[in-house]
């Protein structure tokens, strides 16, 4: 058996194909989920991919949050379904209040596409289980509104509870508070990350393959039951 990983396509999703490729490379089965449908087709995990859902014309993720499929995803995530939001998916998870904090415009006010080092700080989540604590991996960051912000009390809480999953390890690319690149919910099944692990699965087309463990981690976990 293998894990069935659902990948939601919103209007304007761009990295859905890339996420599907990463799941397949990791040995899972990628299941397309359509924003306007109800039901999660019995998947074992869900990825909200990068892109510009609904053009991101209002506020990133603000409209996608109300898509019909979110009606099923939100309670499923609360019940423990593994969910990974990448870039725009991270923004959607914050808008849907499945993750704390917000993503704001980069402090330099420009879109940025660059490879950078990310330090995995929390390996307790279903998505980062395969990494070593403190492991630094090379990923690609590509976003215009990637500055992770939360109020000081929230940041304090996140730190105490160990909910910061990853931080930027070689400088501040976008003005994120405490260099936060990825966070999780309290239970650890929902993770949002701004850089793109699905673009780091093959040295031919990405900075390497150190992002693949995000996908193998969750698939191994599902297969192991």
């Amino acid at each position: 058996m293998t894990a069935r990983v659902g990948i939601v396509t919103f209007p304007g999703s761009l990295d859905d194909r890339d996420a599907a490729r990463a799941v397949t490379r990791a040995g899972g089965e990628a299941i397309p989920l359509w924003h306007a449908d109800r039901g999660l087709r019995g998947v074992d995990a869900v990825i909200l991919p990068g892109g510009f859902s609904y053009g991101d014309y209002l506020r990133c993720g603000a409209i996608a949050r109300f898509a019909p499929i979110m009606t099923d995803l939100v309670p499923a995530a609360a019940a423990g379904l593994p969910v990974l939001g990448i870039c725009n998916g991270f923004q959607i998870l914050c808008e849907a209040h499945l993750l704390p904090g917000v993503l704001m415009r980069n402090h330099h006010r420009k879109f940025i596409d660059r490879r950078l080092l990310v330090r995995i700080e929390d390996t307790s989540t279903l998505w980062t289980r395969g990494y070593q604590p403190g492991q630094e991996i090379t990923l690609v960051l590509k976003s215009g509104e990637g500055a992770y912000l939360a109020d000081p009390a929230m940041l304090d809480t996140l730190g105490k509870r160990g909910q910061v999953v990853a931080r930027y390890a070689d400088g501040d690319p976008n003005g994120s508070a405490q260099l936060i690149a990825a966070v999780r919910n309290e239970a650890g099944n929902v993770v949002g990350i701004m850089p793109h692990p699905e673009h780091a699965i093959d040295p031919l087309t990405g900075p390497g393959d150190e992002g693949l463990l995000f996908f193998t981690s969750v698939i191994r976990q599902v297969v192991a039951g």
């Binding site: 599907a20 510009f52 991101d56």
Partner: protein, 630 residues
């Protein structure tokens, strides 16, 4: 809008009257020719159609005599599946795949409104690729600005880059390369060229033709608004109480989200076999799409203009015909397929409306609330006049050529050499381009093998077989100024070298000519250098010559619109002078690749499934360090 009398075909036949043809850019002779073709004065709508279709921008009436050589002199090849006269050239790359690519300038709009001008330049070129039936897979941008330190460059450059970044990133197309150059001659006249490359299976090739009597004409995509109809305001102003018409935007506004939906929608329509014809709406909007698609098939068309969904209900028929609202496509579909067609559009939230049908009359007949306002032979609009303008070697050219580098001082001492080296390193032309390129998403779609700052961009097409394409854009304006003939050859050679250096094969290559130059440098065209270089550079005598699928400026020598009414006006102002004093050439070759991607999304993809093993990966050079951020 006041109740100004609708100018119908019947009214035009009944009564003559003075018409504002000169304000619309037609010469007296051209206006007379329209009257002869119709046997009466044109209606307002007909005048609008002929004025935009016969503009230099749409008809290439002054440059066609030169551009047609690309088709006439091209050696026979089986690799070229579609060439001159199509929206974009299509080249067979083997394994059942074909690529189509095209580059086009959006210079004047990008000077007037850098952000939207550049953004819609990307949008327009992507729709041309889409219209061929291909999935757009990457973009490139070749840019030229005035001096880096000039105040106006500080206005134009960031806006242009942000516009390309906004549109391309949101559309989900990796930007894999391009050029950035500075020269005083581009102050006030930046060059903003956008390239798009698309991939298709041979069977996916679409025709921009309205074939099949009784087939339905469907307009889909954005609603029609008052974008880019500055020219039509001459006709509209009579019906306005005040001067509102003059306040309308002349540069179109882009909506990359709608374009993304259009891309997925069109590809799904094609995969479902629902497209009998497909065309994009660019310059001259509906005028161009209806006239050209009917002319291409030798058919007629009956259009109900009042069925066109509007963003601004005050628009009149002539304005609707000339509107250059972005993100619109026109399809021809069999009556039995219309329901399925509209269902797919609805799934993608793309507005779609049946606005007419294909007829066998050979006439383009357009009605407005039941009244006939256009009744013309579409070919007469699609085929503009052809001029052979006087051409001569400029007298100043000898003096320019004689003014060689010998008289320039040369560094000889250590300190002089040091100063020269520092000058070179500090020159914007050689400086790190990261400030620009890191605003572009180069990774989306996950198939980018090479991108900036490599010599060429490379995109993987088939994961299983490793098939891919490498592309480079090159051009040296100074060479073109000094010697257009050699300059064109050198541009092609440079692009050829860049693709070769990236690992591209020299066997199957295609070139694309195009571009515009700084205003007023050479008064007349005088060298067909690019053409000659295509013949010189035949890579393998046994396999044939590089096919030329048509060019940016050279594209569709004869009849084809491109987005941007402002370019119409720009071209009118500059006349033919600016069109040929510089050549740019784009090369394409075959590169390496990796493993086949899963079919995604399953309902749409057509590239087959499976996940083959990885082939040996060719690692890209390390990314550049962060550049000069603010």
């Amino acid at each position: 809008m006041s109740a100004a009398a609708l100018d119908t075909v019947a009214a035009a036949a009944a009564a003559d009257r003075p018409q504002p043809y000169a304000e619309l850019g037609l010469t007296g002779e051209e206006y007379q020719r329209v009257r002869e073709l119709l046997g009466r004065r044109p209606t307002d709508c007909e005048l609008a159609i002929y004025s935009v279709m016969w503009s230099e921008h749409c008809s290439y009436k002054s440059s066609r005599v030169y551009l047609r050589q690309f088709a006439e002199k091209a050696p026979a090849t089986t690799a070229l599946l579609a060439g001159m006269g199509q929206n974009a050239g299509v080249v067979d790359i083997g394994q059942g795949y074909a690529v189509t690519f095209k580059i086009e300038s959006h210079n004047h709009p990008s000077y007037v409104e850098p952000f939207q001008g550049a953004a819609t330049g990307v949008g327009g070129i992507v729709r041309d690729i889409l219209a061929m039936g291909a999935r757009p897979v990457a973009v490139m941008d070749a840019l030229r600005f005035g001096p880096a330190g000039a105040p106006d460059t500080a206005r134009v450059l960031p806006g242009v880059v942000a516009g390309i970044s906004f549109y391309g990133n949101c559309l989900g197309l990796p930007n894999i390369g391009g050029e950035l150059g500075f020269d005083p001659c581009y102050a006030g006249n930046p060059l903003v060229n956008a390239l798009c490359v698309g991939v298709m299976r041979h069977a996916d090739l679409q025709a921009a033709a309205a074939a099949g009597e009784g087939n339905q004409v469907i307009l889909f995509g954005s609603r029609t608004g008052p974008d880019g109809i500055g020219g039509a305001s001459v006709l509209a102003s009579a019906s306005f109480e005040g001067g509102e018409a003059a306040k309308r935007p002349s540069v179109q506004v882009g909506d990359p989200f709608m374009e993304k939906l259009l891309v997925e929608c069109c590809l799904e329509l094609g995969a479902a076999g629902l497209l009998a014809g497909l065309g994009d709406l660019g310059a001259a909007g509906l005028s161009c799409a209806t006239a050209e698609m009917a002319a291409a098939a030798g058919t007629g068309m009956r259009i109900r203009l009042d069925a066109v969904p509007l963003r601004d209900p005050a628009l009149g028929p002539a304005e609707i015909l000339m509107s250059e609202s972005q993100e619109r496509m026109m399809a021809i579909a069999a009556p039995a397929d219309v329901a399925a067609f509209l269902a797919i559009c609805a799934r993608w939230d793309v507005p779609a409306t049946v606005i007419g049908e294909v007829t066998g009359t050979g006439r383009l007949q357009i009605s407005w609330h039941g009244e006939l306002v256009v009744d013309i032979a579409p070919q007469t609009a699609a085929d503009g006049p052809v001029y052979r303008r006087p051409a001569a070697r400029p007298a100043s050219q000898d003096a320019l050529a004689a003014d060689g580098p010998d008289r320039l001082p040369r560094p000889s001492s250590g300190p002089e050499l040091r100063a020269t080296l520092l000058d070179l390193l500090a020159s914007p032309g050689l400086a790190d381009k990261t400030w620009v390129t890191q605003q572009y998403d180069r990774h989306v779609r996950g198939d980018t093998v090479l991108a900036m700052p490599e010599d060429a961009g490379a995109i993987r097409i088939d994961e299983q077989t490793g098939l891919g394409v490498a592309l480079a854009t090159d051009g040296n304006g100074r060479y073109g100024w000094l010697d257009p003939y050699l300059g064109a050859q050198l541009a092609l050679a440079e692009a050829y070298r860049n693709v070769a250096a990236a690992g591209g094969s020299g066997r199957d290559v295609a070139v694309r000519g195009g571009g515009a130059g700084p205003r007023g440098r050479l008064p007349v065209p005088w060298h067909p250098g690019h053409r000659r270089q295509c013949q010189l550079l035949q890579p393998d005598a046994g396999r044939g010559h590089p096919p030329d699928p048509g060019g940016g400026c050279a594209r569709r020598a004869g009849r084809r619109a491109a987005p941007g009414a402002d370019r119409v006006r720009s071209a009118r102002r500059a006349g033919s002078a600016a069109w040929h004093d510089r050549r740019r050439v784009w090369r394409l070759g075959l590169g390496a690749g990796g493993a086949r991607s899963p079919r995604w999304p399953p309902a749409i993809g057509r590239s087959g499934g499976g996940t083959g093993g990885r082939v040996a990966a060719r690692r890209r050079g390390p990314g550049r360090a962060a550049g000069r951020g603010p």
